[in-house]
């Protein structure tokens, strides 16, 4: 078994067989369950149609995925350093690229588990309505590059700074800024600044795609621009992470 596979297995085990990892998954499903229960108990929310609810659920899953990616990414190098395990890792016969990809594979596994856990929730709120299959597909197609991109960003900061606190806080600020479309109203997003931010923000790209596909039933061809945006985001963050991982701070 090569080093990359070993590291990937270790990261995956940390999520599924570790109490902390399971606690995170429990918190994640707790958020989705709370939202789902609100939908049937709150009069205002219960009047939303299936498509609107599926769109909101997909946005929530993407945001939660990015949050977990940021937390795991911030711990990737700086956490190993603070635990005193980074130097042994770096002196082991694995390349910096393999170490980075192993960590990224763990992160991807976490997102994969979150994605699979989201499917029954999407079915529960969206069955009987429109575009449920498309919602599940586009959540994977657009959510994955957005989530992994944030994970790579956090890993880059983690390798550069050597501090979990610093890399986590910086990544969270970037994530909050990107996720602001979830919080601000359509009026502000339609302003000139809002439109510029929407055009370069991968999170907005994913949300706008969910809106277009799930609610407006737009085809894939009309979303190619946004697909390019999220793939460019993923590519850029991967390049930044790879560069930073070549010389991580270990002292």
């Amino acid at each position: 078994m090569n080093a990359f596979t070993l590291i990937a297995k270790k990261e995956r085990r940390a999520l599924l067989q570790n109490q902390r990892g399971l606690a995170w998954l429990l918190a994640y499903t707790g958020i989705l369950s709370a939202f789902a229960l609100l939908l049937i108990s709150n009069r205002e929310l219960s009047l939303l149609d299936n498509a609107q609810v599926v769109y909101m659920m997909a946005g929530t899953v993407t945001a939660a995925g990015a949050l977990i990616a940021v937390i795991m990414g911030a711990d990737a190098y700086a956490g190993e350093r603070e635990r005193g395990t980074l130097v042994p890792l770096l002196t082991a016969p694995i390349s910096t690229g393999e170490l980075l990809m192993g960590k990224a594979a763990g992160l991807a596994s976490a997102w994969g588990i979150m994605y699979l856990l989201a499917i029954p929730y999407l079915w529960a709120v969206g069955a009987g309505g429109q575009n449920l299959g498309q919602a599940i597909f586009y959540l994977g197609l657009f959510g994955t590059p957005v989530v992994l991109g944030f994970g790579y960003l956090a890993m880059a900061l983690s390798a550069r700074s050597g501090s979990v606190m610093y890399s986590l806080m910086t990544s969270l600020i970037v994530l909050l800024f990107s996720a602001s479309p979830l919080l601000i109203g359509p009026g502000l997003r339609n302003s000139a600044i809002g439109k510029v931010l929407d055009a370069v923000n991968p999170f907005s790209g994913a949300l706008n795609t969910y809106d277009a596909v799930i609610i407006d039933s737009d085809p894939l061809m009309s979303q190619l621009g946004r697909l390019a945006l999220v793939l460019i985001w993923l590519g850029l963050m991967f390049a930044v992470a790879r560069l930073s991982a070549r010389r991580p701070v270990f002292r």
Binding site: A23, L32, A36, L39, I40, S46, L47, Y121, A124, A127
Partner: protein, 176 residues
């Protein structure tokens, strides 16, 4: 003759007081901005005009909106709890000839056929005046069903919580 005069005077007094009794005229119209085919979750607005057509001012006027479902087999008066926050106008004084215009917003909570009416009375009058009714149909739309959500929303966290519990027990056995 004297008795006849007294009788005539009493009759005249009675008829004039009857003529001066409170009289309200109510009109009700659907707002022009209302959706042509209303669906669950939509807002509708109804505009009422209450006119004092009597000779006396009306004090302590109370006007309220009522909704009745007339879907065949489901006929019932509706509790406006979730439909409308603006259910009545109270304590108004209306001079003879004066007009009270009110807009009644309503959120369409449930599908079906409905009739809406405005009723009004005042503190001195036992008569309740009503407007003509307006009937409208609220179309169904697919919404979230609790029968699907509850097993998922409760089951999945319970499953993961169970795994967590098994982990804890295993660890406890290992460490003794």
């Amino acid at each position: 003759m004297k008795h006849f005069k007294y009788l005539l005077a009493s009759l005249l007094l009675l008829s004039s007081s009857l003529a001066a009794a409170a009289s309200l005229q109510l009109q009700l119209q659907s707002d022009t901005a209302n959706p042509a085919h209303p669906t669950m979750g939509d807002w509708m607005h109804f505009n009422s005009v209450i006119t004092n057509t009597g000779q006396q001012p009306i004090e302590g006027l109370v006007a309220w909106i009522s909704l009745v479902e007339v879907t065949p087999g489901k006929e019932q008066p509706m509790d406006l709890e979730d439909w409308s926050a603006h259910k009545a106008v109270t304590g108004t004084t209306l001079q003879p000839g004066a007009v009270l215009q009110t807009q009644w917003p309503m959120r369409l909570i449930q599908s079906g056929d409905y009739r809406v009416v405005i009723s009004a009375t005042d503190r001195n009058n036992k008569t309740v005046f009503t407007s003509p009714t307006l009937q409208f149909h609220v179309a169904q739309k697919p919404v979230v069903e609790s029968a699907r959500i509850l097993p998922v929303a409760l089951g999945i966290p319970l499953l993961i919580g169970g795994l967590l519990g098994v982990q804890k027990v295993r660890r406890w056995h290992k460490t003794g």
